[in-house]
């Protein structure tokens, strides 16, 4: 394959991957984060005690997380068609990616928020803070480094998941690797795809780590 053609294939696939990862990451986080906050604060005796809802939503999240992604993709095709009007193509692929991201983010966010020292919640309650003020001024503020790392992990996982949506014509780097590298026996394409993926993942991880470090004031030394 000529370098020009390879470049054109790669850049198109990279663009599709980024579209899917960014869109699914953004929408999935916007929905998953509040669910994570709910899971972390609605247990018995917590800020918004609702143990029954907590258990039901927890079970749904677990179910969604244990469904293999490729099965989720085909299982929700009717829903995908409802949302995007089609079940194939990059935009259509964003729907299952988003659906898979929501429970993933929810669990990671829950863990990050539960890491916040309970003493801080008590201190804020003693100041007369409302539960919502505690969520925004204490929990989310203190969990920011952890949440940043959680979102970084989410984006990295999405890069991997996005390789699977080739099954519904989602395109992207993974799809390119499979179709050209594997099915057409073009190892150079496969190699190029893997290199680009490594660079993308590395970039996301480094940016996330740097951001989390900046948010983390816990280990400062005078």
């Amino acid at each position: 394959m000529s370098p020009d053609m390879l470049f054109s294939l790669l850049s198109k696939a990279l663009w599709q991957t980024l579209q899917m990862v960014v869109a699914a990451g953004l929408i999935g986080s916007l929905i998953g984060l509040p669910i994570g906050v709910f899971l972390a604060t609605s247990g018995k005796g917590e800020l918004f005690p609702a143990p029954v809802s907590n258990r039901i939503i927890g079970a749904i999240v677990n179910a969604a997380r244990s469904t293999p992604f490729i099965i989720l993709v085909v299982a929700i095709i009717p829903f995908t068609r409802l949302v995007t009007g089609t079940s194939i193509g990059t935009y259509a692929a964003i729907v299952p990616l988003t659906v898979a991201t929501i429970p993933f983010v929810a669990r990671l966010a829950e863990a990050a928020i539960r890491e916040v020292d309970k003493g801080l919640i008590e201190a804020a309650r003693a100041m007369g803070a409302t539960p919502l003020q505690i969520v925004f001024k204490v929990l989310l503020a203190e969990a920011k480094p952890g949440l940043t790392l959680a979102l970084t992990l989410t984006l990295v996982s999405l890069v991997g998941y996005s390789a699977m949506v080739g099954a519904v014509g989602g395109g992207g780097l993974g799809d390119l690797g499979i179709r050209y590298g594997y099915q057409r026996f073009m190892p150079d394409v496969m190699l190029a795809v893997v290199v680009v993926l490594i660079v993308v993942v590395q970039a996301i991880q480094s940016a996330g780590d740097a951001l989390a470090r900046r948010f983390d004031k816990r280990n400062r030394k005078t």
Binding site: G119, R125, M127, E142
Partner: protein, 366 residues
Amino acid sequence: MTFPNAAVRTEPHPVATATPMVAFEAVTKRFGDAGDQNQFTALDGVDLSVARGAITGIIGRSGAGKSTLIRLVNGLEKATSGRVVVDGVEVGGLSETGLRDLRREIGMIFQHFNLLSSRTAFDNVALPLEIAGLDRAAIRAKVAPLLDLVGLGDKSDRYPAELSGGQKQRIGIARALATSPKLLLSDEATSALDPETTQSILALLKRINAELGLTVLLITHEMEVVKTIASDVAVIDRGRIVEAGRTFDVFTGAKHETTRSLLSAALGTNLPDWIRSNLKPQPSAGDRVLVRLIFFGATAFQPLTARLVTELGADVNILAGTIEEIAGEPYGSLVVAYPADPAVTERAERFYAATGLSTEVLGYVA
């Protein structure tokens, strides 16, 4: 030193004789559901009043119920039965909104400081004001003088991780004072600090109490803390208040076992082990009696030991002794031994009665 909060306070400093700042009336607190075998009674019929403008200490061992007790005051815990009344308002009868308003009038400091690691010293002190809905300018006007008050005006932009334990607690105190509270709750505030830092934090609390007229209710397991700053004390043991009153009276006239054991550690009145292990409850012939002499008030300044030796006409050994200051008054304790001969002990009793010295027979040794 100027006190930004003092200007807000319109009423004159309340006096200790007024209605109490906090009153516990037959307060019981149980954790767990009734009938559950894991149900635990943390507080059992507690009656206690906390005087306005005073520093009141509640002392007890861990698990005695003191954390629960202090959390009932600002409604972090709810009493199972009985009433908790803060400045005339029954805490248990308040709605969530009423409770939040009350909490803005009660500052609280914690053993582990509970500062937000993501906020600078300034922003930590600002937090209760943000919660109360003050604007940025008003917050700035309140926070800076508070940081000066606790002596950390130059650490305004530092994060908690960059501060020492004592500095963190000072920020905690500034934060607790931000909303100009009428009551300060201190939950083991010095327990994580070294002795020297403890003293400086206690001095700060004492100064705030004196200059702002702020009522302070503190819980601690350290007798040293109570002895240094509390004018009133309550001793709690297994969910019950076993002794309460003026600190000096409770300490010098300690009746309850818990008070005595907490005291002996703090006052250095513990006997050396080799003596304690040989103590007998009843004398046999030729034994010596061990007596603890307690000096306070008028007796603290008289040369009574020298006179005791003369009066008894017998050998007197001194085994242990200490002089302390409790709530600002001198208090001495001396353990002496002399022959348990009835003639000698009778002369000793007469001497004690005549001088008003308080004594306690500890036991007998061969």
